[in-house]
């Protein structure tokens, strides 16, 4: 039976999650130098175009059609059989297509997150091919394993409410792989790039926070108490993490920064994502407070020490935040919050933590390997990195023949 309230909420949530991709675009665009603003905005925007088509043609089928082992196969190619009646295995009270379009928005934003790692130095054509292959051979199978009917991680009982594993750890590891192979930006040691427009970062963060209510509370797939729980803990965790990052900076660097609060808020949103439908508000505060500690260590201590150039910290925020969130779900999950979930370690079920750990490890290994192969393939066919001269001149002019700002009228 289609429920009007549930359907309305899922459609609104779909629109909210879609907005997160342009929000991410501004979040990232503010961090790059002004010669590369448009390239980042363009990459995020073209993903909305390309993956929207990929998803309705075959992405949704690969991810969510009943399992054929590795993935769902092509049974639902072109949305064949995906109609307006509910499909009870996913959501019994909304049209199947509402579930499909909601999931489309997740498929769009996940590869967009990776952009943070290779920003300012990737060829646009290579980026397009990489993204399409990555969505098809990394996102779609993993999404199937965790959320699809017959997916093996789902059958094992791994909890991932709104995509900590599928979205954040997944994109975060891919980010690390690309940053490692692609190498540092030219002149990075001599000329450390500072964010060119901090207000863009703040605008992007604000819109991400807003859109994340659709991401997490929408994952209840109904306008019900569970959605409210997810909404409340999402807001709480983001708040705790933003505050905690600012305090860490204050203590360590002497001054809190708006960039820090924004980074923390996003990390808090990432960390609560897998847990949002399984934990209550006090664990949400703990999850938020601690994620900033872990992510801060990753971006401010480990990254400089290891020397990889994850330009905009896609790994440090999304992968580290995602892993913490997935494990925290195994610690704090409670059947009192969601009877269809499971109890975590602190509620007497240590096994859940192991299942969560397994899902994390599987994601790390699978994504690392396949992303590496896809990268090498694209490098062979097109060449991934732009020439040094193009990089110095900026991707806006060299990849798109446009510039973001004029100096003279």
């Amino acid at each position: 039976m289609v429920n009007p309230g549930d359907t309305a909420w899922v459609l609104i949530s779909s629109a909210l999650v879609l907005l997160m991709t342009p929000a991410l675009a501004f979040f990232y665009a503010g961090m790059v130098r002004k010669k590369n603003v448009l390239s980042v905005l363009m990459q995020c925007f073209i993903i909305m175009c390309v993956l929207s088509i990929q998803w309705v043609l075959f992405g949704y089928s690969l991810s969510f059609a009943p399992s054929e082992g590795f993935w769902g196969g092509f049974k639902w190619f072109g949305l064949n059989g995906v109609g307006l009646a509910p499909y009870a295995d996913y959501a019994g009270t909304i049209p199947h297509q509402a579930f499909m379009i909601y999931q489309a928005m997740f498929a769009i934003i996940t590869p967009a997150l990776i952009i943070g790692a290779f920003a300012e130095r990737m060829k646009f054509s290579a980026f397009l091919l990489f993204t399409l292959l990555w969505a098809t051979f990394v996102y779609d199978p993993l999404c199937h394993w965790v959320w699809g009917v017959g997916g093996w991680l789902r059958n094992l009982g791994a909890l991932d409410f709104a995509g900590g594993t599928v979205v954040h750890i997944n994109a975060g590891v891919a980010a690390l792989v690309t940053a490692l192979i692609l190498g540092k930006r030219v002149n990075l040691d001599k000329n450390f790039p500072t964010p060119h427009n901090m207000p863009f970062v703040v605008l992007g963060t604000g819109l991400l926070w807003f859109g994340w209510f659709g991401f997490n509370a929408g994952s209840a797939l109904a306008a019900n108490g569970l959605a409210v729980n997810a909404f409340v803990v999402t807001n709480t965790s983001a708040a705790a993490a933003g505050l905690s990052w600012a305090l860490i900076e204050w203590w360590r660097n002497g001054k809190p920064t708006i960039f820090g609060v924004c980074s923390g808020a996003v990390a808090g949103l990432v960390a609560i994502t897998p847990a949002a439908g399984f934990v209550s508000v006090i664990p949400a505060i703990i999850i938020g407070l601690l994620v900033s500690v872990f992510s801060f260590i990753a971006v401010a201590v480990i990254k400089p020490k290891l020397g990889y150039d994850d330009s905009l910290d896609a790994f440090g925020v999304h992968c580290i935040g995602g892993i913490w969130g997935a494990l925290a779900t195994g610690l704090f999950a409670s059947k009192a919050v969601n009877p269809n979930g499971a109890d975590g370690l602190f509620f007497g079920n240590p096994k859940q933590l192991l299942v969560q750990l397994l899902a994390v490890l599987v994601t790390l290994v699978y994504t690392f390997t396949i992303t590496f192969i896809i990268y090498k393939l694209v490098d062979l066919v097109i060449g991934v990195r732009v020439g040094e001269k193009e990089e110095l001149m900026g991707l806006d002019l060299t990849q798109h023949h446009e510039r973001a700002y004029t100096v003279l009228e």
């Binding site: 000329n191 001149m393 023949h401 510039r403 100096v407 003279l408």
Partner: protein, 113 residues
């Protein structure tokens, strides 16, 4: 006293600054400007409308020095900014008749340093 004006590539600013510090030239003014010499600008396209020969971003440095610092300053700028490619930039050296420090009213050579 001379006023040295240099037009350099934007990504060379840090290296030029480093070289200038090494030469103990610490007082510089930098601004962002547009220009091109023999190097042609990139054609930009907006909704199909081409704009050819557009100006490229450059950095303009202004450095006022006493005579004994003229050569070291020029050497430092060249060392930091040279790649050997077209577009590395130019250095102009101008006579500077007067210099006044606003805070103290000092004039001439002492006011520069």
């Amino acid at each position: 006293m001379k006023l040295i004006i240099a037009i350099i590539q934007p990504d060379k600013l840090e290296e030029v600054k480093d070289e200038l510090y090494k030469a103990e030239v610490n007082l510089i003014t930098a601004s962002e400007v547009l220009g091109h010499g023999r190097q042609k600008g990139i054609t930009e396209i907006y909704r199909g409308a081409k704009e050819t020969g557009n100006l490229l971003r450059k950095i303009r440095l202004e450095i006022a020095v006493n005579e004994n610092f003229v050569e070291p300053t020029i050497k430092a700028i060249i060392k930091g900014a040279k790649t050997g490619e077209i577009g590395d930039g130019k250095i102009f050296v101008l006579d500077l008749p007067q210099c006044i420090r606003i805070r103290t009213g000092e004039t001439g050579g002492v006011a520069i340093g």
